[in-house]
């Protein structure tokens, strides 16, 4: 049988075996929040978690990342490319929604004539061990965006939490090789597989939030200039928590950071957010999106209208982070309801007429 069993007690063994080959990232508790960070000790791994606060995208697309380093020698410049892009990474414990976000990010960074090597190389050299989501939160809606709490596709190895042990399934070639290497894993019994299926079913049934995003996209395409945007943006304070915690947000700013003492520096990219008024401000003073209403609209349009037309899928993985992070509770579910209301009203009028 292909499926294996990993006892939770054996995580240490797994770690010590893989840690030599991979940079091992796993969920840890940092100041009370779950975050994916590189661990140096198996004790740091936090196995009981709903989902991390900051999505694991920051392992492959960190908030601050060096693009290249440079050195000045008189008037000459020497550019040093990064050499650590092909180091092997292993990200342990990624939820299916976040794993799916890696696929979206990959599509985005490979889109067009230019490939973002900084991201793609790291993505290529990373292995993702996903974990099924036994307890989706109320704010989760991955099933509405084509996901599933036990979706395996974007992971390399997929684990299902069966209490004191994990059911291990190798998904990709990379994952199969990895599982082959861990020869000490015991074979799974049929009961284990059945239990996993049952958990998946339970998780799926527990979703309370369901959207029809095809309809949302259609309504958005037709209603760029609708008064509803005023209503939606009204209570937004533009704090950008939603974009900073979003697993699919990719916008960044590029900055040169100098070490004046040693005539050297690095060009870095840092996360930026479309919710900031400075994001689009041109040097001339002209700003294409000066108002909050335009910035709010851009975020929603980008995820649910522009993304589908460029990549044929919604730019959202349904993790619900923006819903729980919004301090004024101007959350996505309400926004989408408001958008769908437009359609309902129109239909209603048509019927009555």
């Amino acid at each position: 049988m292909d499926e294996k069993i990993l006892l939770k007690d054996n995580i240490g063994k797994l770690y010590s075996e893989l840690e030599k080959e991979y940079k091992f990232y796993a969920p840890t508790k940092v100041k009370g929040n779950i975050a994916f960070s590189r661990i140096s000790n198996v004790e740091e791994i936090e196995l009981e978690f709903l989902n991390s606060k900051v999505p694991p995208k920051d392992v492959l697309f960190p908030q601050k990342e060096t693009i290249f380093e440079y050195k000045y020698e008189g008037k000459d410049v020497i550019i040093e490319e990064r050499k650590d892009l092909e180091d092997k990474l292993l990200i342990f414990g990624v939820r299916p929604c976040d794993a799916y976000s890696f696929k979206l990010l990959e599509d985005f960074f490979a889109f067009g004539d230019f490939q973002d090597e900084v991201f793609l190389k790291k993505r290529e050299s990373s292995t993702i061990i996903g974990i099924g989501c036994n307890n989706p939160r109320q704010s989760c809606f991955c099933t509405s965006v084509g996901g599933h709490p036990f979706q395996k596709e974007s992971t390399d190895v997929f684990l299902s939490d069966l209490g004191d042990k994990y059911l291990v399934e190798a998904v990709s070639e990379k994952g199969k090789n990895l599982v082959k290497k861990l020869s000490w894993l015991s074979d799974a019994k049929k009961a284990d597989i059945d239990k996993s299926k049952e958990l998946a079913k339970q998780a799926e049934d527990s979703f309370t939030t369901k959207f029809n995003f095809d309809l949302v996209t259609k309504v958005l395409d037709e209603n760029f200039e609708h008064p509803v945007w005023q209503e939606i943006s009204e209570s937004c304070i533009g704090c950008s928590s939603c974009t900073f915690l979003c697993p699919t947000c990719t916008c960044f700013d590029v900055i040169d950071e100098n070490d004046e003492y040693n005539n050297r520096g690095r060009r870095i990219r840092i996360w930026d957010t479309c919710q900031s008024c400075l994001y689009t401000l041109e040097t001339s003073g002209h700003n294409p999106r000066p108002e909050k209403i335009q910035r709010c609209r851009n975020r929603i349009m980008h995820k649910f209208s522009y993304y589908p037309s460029n990549y044929d899928c919604v730019g959202c993985v349904g993790c619900g982070r923006c819903i729980s992070a919004c301090p004024v509770n101007n959350e996505l579910r309400l926004i989408i309801d408001k958008i769908l209301e437009i359609e309902e009203k129109e239909k209603g009028e048509k019927i009555s007429a």
Binding site: V30, K31, G32, N33, I34, E46, E48, F49, L50, K53, V54, Q63, K64, N135, R137, Q138, S139, Q230, E234, S235, I237, G238, C239, S240, S241, T243, F244, L245, D253, I255, E257, I268, I270, W271, T273, S276, L278, I293, I323, S324, A325, C326, P327, V328, N329, N330, E331, R333, L334
Partner: protein
């Protein structure tokens, strides 16, 4: 310490009074719109709401989760507060003590015109420290929050936990001396509902005395530890009613003053300068801490600011629109013990 008797009934009373007043104001056309709070869609949140119809008054609510400082929506005014013909509308603001302070302080900085607003004062009984509760529940989902007696009860799928409210209040609320908006004698029509006249506010600042007695190294360690998780999303800035600059110092690029990265020195500098700008202006609403997605507690910095301003300049922000804020004022006899002198 304020003694709270039956939080639940108290909240209900506040809510009923508030709705009554709001209804009256809208009926008599004393205000065009009212901004207040309504029930949030998540258990630990409330949602700001703007109403302009009498029948919507029932949506207004007061509970211990109403932590957004509504003064934020007046600088700049959200578009609904400005009519294309009438100009600025008359806005009623549901105001706990710190919202009232925010409005009055903004008036002292000439940012808002008190003639155009009505403060619907409510006697605030504190807000829940959402981050602390969330962190203590840990990795479980909170499904329901209710108030019973003096406890906040948090329920989830397979757990139920009680938090004594006076301990799990937001840090700034614990020692809050200004629970109702201040009465401004010059504007008799400004305040409706419960407001209070404050004379001298006595505050011992015991809570930060201990921190201050630490050595620089200990303080540095504490500060860097507390701020290191900051993601520089600037939610604290955006939620703050006093942060209304068109171009914040961190965004200025001619010249670039400070780094924009999440390296520790850059984070520290951001919070240090922001604190500098808040001196004598912070109205102790705690919104910055409560909106922080990473749960950083900025309140102890705000307390320190309050202390400096109180001790040095005997000033409490947001009580009187006619007193000049301390940072634009000076006295010949200001203390200068920190100046370098010959031995």
């Amino acid at each position: 310490m304020v003694i709270i008797v039956g939080l639940e009934t108290e909240n209900k009373d506040i809510e009923n009074n508030m709705q009554e007043i709001a209804k009256g104001l809208l009926k008599e056309k004393k205000v065009d719109v009212i901004i207040g709070y309504k029930k949030g869609t998540l258990p630990l949140l409330s949602q700001p709401i703007i109403i302009d119809k009498e029948e919507d008054v029932d949506k207004l609510l007061w509970n211990n989760l109403c932590y957004v400082n509504l003064a934020k929506y007046l600088v700049p005014r959200v578009p609904r507060f400005v009519d294309s013909e009438k100009g600025n509308l008359k806005v009623g603001v549901v105001a706990k003590g710190c919202v009232g302070r925010g409005l009055i302080h903004l008036a002292s900085e000439n940012k808002i015109n008190l003639d155009e607003i009505t403060i619907i004062g409510i006697p605030c009984n504190g807000v829940v420290n959402r981050q602390r509760v969330e962190m203590e529940i840990g990795e479980k989902e909170i499904l329901e929050v209710s108030v019973l007696g003096n406890n906040v009860i948090v329920k989830g799928k397979d757990f139920e936990k009680e938090f004594p409210f006076d301990e799990y209040m937001n840090e700034l609320c614990k020692g809050c001396k200004i629970r109702k908006p201040s009465l401004v004698s010059k504007f008799p029509d400004l305040c409706v509902g419960e407001c209070e006249e404050y004379s001298n506010i006595v505050d011992e600042f015991d809570d930060i005395a201990e921190f201050e007695s630490k050595t620089p190294e200990e303080k540095w360690e504490y500060i860097t530890e507390a701020l290191s998780v900051c993601t520089r999303c600037y939610a604290c800035r955006e939620a703050c009613p006093m942060c209304y600059c068109n171009l914040c110092f961190v965004d200025q690029n001619k010249p670039v003053w400070f780094g924009k990265t999440t390296d520790l020195p850059d984070i520290i500098v951001y919070h240090l300068i922001r604190a500098m700008h808040m001196a004598g202006r912070c109205v102790a609403c705690g919104a910055c801490s409560l909106v922080c997605p990473m749960g950083i507690d900025l309140n102890f910095i705000n307390r320190k600011l309050e202390k400096i301003v109180k001790e040095r300049f005997d000033f409490t922000s947001g009580l009187d629109p006619d007193t000049l804020p301390p940072m634009v004022d000076f006295k010949m006899e200001d203390a200068e013990e920190f100046m370098l002198e010959e031995d």
